[in-house]
């Protein structure tokens, strides 16, 4: 699918100067190529890319000219983390979280290599990163639901009955975007509805209320690395693991529990990207099928998690979570034992590469 250059150029001309150019990294996992970046060029070229190359490290991934980037393949990951590299998945896009760890920026935007620029109903090209930045830089409102959705959006506000003491909101840690065309369905749904396409443009951003879990998709996601980065571990997936396609889900349940505990916000809705290619549903089914059973136990686990008051940093919350995963989910399958250990390894690796962040408390940035 080729987006006509004029729509994007028009959108770029209309948007403000590139925000957060020096404070944001774009993390892209890939095993094939980065051709999709051509379409994103006008929106993304000013930003630094972190490419995490999955699969065969001897293959060369060509990055389109003009992009400023650093690229890590499996050899680099092994070299940089040593034995701790065991927590980073192989042959699964979950490896992208290595990019979060090595970044030195405050914000991360991550996108899949089969996601293209979408158009809004007026035909205008959507600058997804710009919307993510808006979402992250404006407060969230997790304690009381606003029926007009994001009260900080242009042309909206808090409705009658919304307490004034809650109108300042809290810091936004995560911005979860959506997808037009191929929706993010699981394998069974894909098999039953192979032709379904998401054509509904829902013009809203909303805060996911405190105490409510959601399925977080990693295809079109941005977050404040300083507020929540250490909790964005995408788990053990892919080669040698009994499960796949639950990496972002796992991270999503962890970050939501921690954000709820620390008083941080998670938004979902705009921006949309255009998801062009559906993965093979039969392959997906084999990857997911254990997850489909396990999530029936995992969800109640996360819904009931209580983090102690003295967990005042993301790392402390995460280590505590790992402990509870081992205690309560370990009995479902030895996989969760391994995962709990990997969660701890991840934090050690994170702190090793990001020494100053260990002292941030209560989600406030230094």
């Amino acid at each position: 699918m080729n987006e006509p250059a004029t729509a994007i150029e028009a959108a770029v001309a209309a948007s403000p100067l590139h925000q957060l150019k020096d404070e944001l990294d774009i993390v892209i996992p890939t095993i094939r190529n980065l051709d999709f970046l051509e379409m994103w060029r006008p929106f993304l070229q000013p930003y630094h890319l972190i490419i995490v190359q999955d699969g065969d490290p001897s293959k060369t991934i060509k990055v389109p000219n003009g992009f400023d980037y650093e690229l890590y393949n499996r050899n680099d990951i092994n070299r940089i983390l040593g034995p701790k590299a065991s927590c980073i998945s192989f042959k699964d896009s979950a490896c992208r979280c290595f990019g979060y760890m090595v970044s030195k920026k405050k914000y991360i935007f991550t996108i899949d290599d089969n996601c293209f620029v979408a158009k809004d109903p007026s035909g205008k090209a959507i600058n997804a990163l710009e919307q993510h930045i808006k979402n992250l830089l404006s407060p969230s409102t997790p304690f009381f639901f606003n029926t007009l959705y994001d009260p900080f959006a242009e042309g909206a506000d808090f409705v009658r009955g919304y307490p004034f003491s809650l109108r300042e909101g809290v810091s936004t840690a995560v911005s979860h975007g959506l997808w037009l065309n191929i929706p993010d369905y699981d394998a069974p749904t894909q098999l039953v509805k192979p032709l379904e396409r998401n054509t509904r443009f829902v013009d809203a951003v909303l805060t996911i209320p405190k105490g409510t879990l959601f399925p977080m998709c990693g295809m079109n996601l941005a977050f404040d690395r300083q507020l929540i980065g250490p909790a964005m571990y995408f788990g053990l997936m892919g080669e040698g693991q009994p499960i796949g396609r639950y990496d972002d889900m796992w991270a999503g349940w962890c970050i939501k529990v921690i954000c709820d505990h620390l008083g941080l916000g998670v938004k979902t809705g705009l921006p949309y990207i255009y998801h062009s290619k559906a993965s093979n549903p039969f392959v997906n089914l084999r990857k997911e099928y254990k997850g489909i059973y396990w999530q029936e136990d995992i969800i109640p686990f996360f819904q009931q998690v209580v983090l102690p008051k003295d967990c005042t940093t993301v790392q402390k919350c995460y280590i505590e979570l790992a402990k509870q995963v081992k205690e309560k989910l370990g009995k479902i399958d030895p996989y969760f034992d391994k995962l709990a250990d990997a969660m701890v390894t991840w934090i050690q690796a994170w702190d090793g590469l990001n020494p100053t962040s260990a002292s941030f408390s209560n989600g406030k940035t230094g």
Partner: protein, 352 residues
């Protein structure tokens, strides 16, 4: 409109706060005319109602209200609360209620929104309060549950309440509208979503629908501001009622949806003039919200009436001493349950 729902299962209840309903009824004619309507005239309204021909309706005025509930009780139905009388006397399964200053809206394609059909769709498809679906209503055409949504939660629960929205004059409070006098809502958000369990929200009475058989007694006239007036900026009765309803729904495992349908709300009134009256309501919410967030109902409360009675009790105990308005509200809730049991048609079957 769902084929399994018959038109005669629906009542449209309109509270008339203004006498001339001609343009209101004519604007809604194509949507309302197949249904039975209950029009309740604000007992404080002196002028005669003007209603155009061609509708199947029952009109209730002060004398009718007095006759059914007695003259001392009829005062609870003053102002916007007059509609609750309609809920009380209705014998239908579904009720849809819009304010008399709202017209049908047009969607993004310029097509007139059939608010009744959308509310009925919302009420007759399951709600999903236990886990958030990022593609919003999974039962809508062209959507489904996303990857990662537990299969055991995909059958959902019964939807008891459908909260619609408003284009043009949004339901802002007076301070907000006074600060932004020109602001009008032009954003048509093409979504319906379930409000998660234990999440509270301001439920506006301007455009609302519910399953009367399941949740009827929980929509109630009880909190009346000292300076309550005839503009929405001067009331909190629906917000209070809505908090009760949500707590009861959460306890009984029922769903509440929000989003479409939109109605077009006409400009009316002066926010600045209403400012003084509504400050009272605005301040109240600071107490009301934390209170309702902390309410936990007992296992023994298995019917809507029981739940309402328990909430009333907790209101009396925890809020009654803070402001006489709350003590009065608690009493009004208890009286309402009694009234519902004697006048309203039986809804004592469990809500879930």
């Amino acid at each position: 409109m769902s084929l399994s729902i018959k038109d005669d299962e629906i009542d449209i209840v309109i509270g008339a706060l203004r006498p001339d309903l001609t343009s209101f009824m004519n604007e809604w004619r194509t949507i309302f005319s197949r249904f039975h309507l209950i029009i309740v005239k604000d007992p404080d309204l002196k002028e005669e109602l003007k209603i155009p021909e061609g509708f199947n309706l029952d009109v209730y005025k002060k004398p009718d209200i007095d006759r059914v509930v007695g003259t001392s009780t009829s005062t609870i139905f003053s102002g916007y609360s007059c509609r609750y009388f309609g809920y009380l006397v209705s014998r239908k399964k579904y009720i849809i209620s819009v304010d008399d200053d709202c017209y049908p809206a047009k969607d993004n394609k310029g097509i007139l929104v059939d608010a009744v059909a959308q509310h009925i769709t919302n009420l007759t498809t399951p709600a999903t309060p236990f886990f958030f679906n990022t593609l919003y209503d999974p039962f809508t055409e062209g959507a489904d549950f996303v990857r990662g949504y537990p299969f055991s939660l995909r059958s959902g629960v019964q939807c008891a309440l459908s909260c619609g929205l408003w284009l043009n004059l949004a339901d802002y409070d007076a301070p907000t509208q006074a600060l932004k006098p020109e602001e009008r809502n032009s954003r048509y958000v093409d979504a319906v979503l379930t409000v998660p369990a234990r999440t509270l929200m301001p439920i506006s009475g301007i455009n609302i629908a519910f399953n009367r058989e399941v949740i009827g007694p929980a929509l109630l006239p009880s909190l009346r501001l000292g300076g309550e007036g005839k503009f929405r900026w001067e009331t909190m009765e629906d917000i209070w009622s809505g908090m009760c309803v949500k707590v009861v729904c959460d306890h009984l495992g029922l769903g509440v949806k929000t989003g479409m349908p939109y109605v077009w709300r006409n400009d009316r009134g002066d926010a600045i003039a209403s400012l003084r009256k509504e400050w009272e309501g605005v301040k109240l919410m600071e107490e009301v919200v934390p209170f309702f967030q902390s309410v936990r109902l007992s296992r023994e409360a298995t019917t809507t009436e029981d739940c309402v009675a328990e909430v009333a009790n907790v209101v009396k105990e925890q809020l009654g001493s803070k402001d006489p308005m709350f003590a009065r509200a608690a009493k009004a809730m208890v009286d309402w349950v009694k009234l519902w049991k004697s006048v309203g048609s039986s809804t004592s079957s469990p809500g879930a």
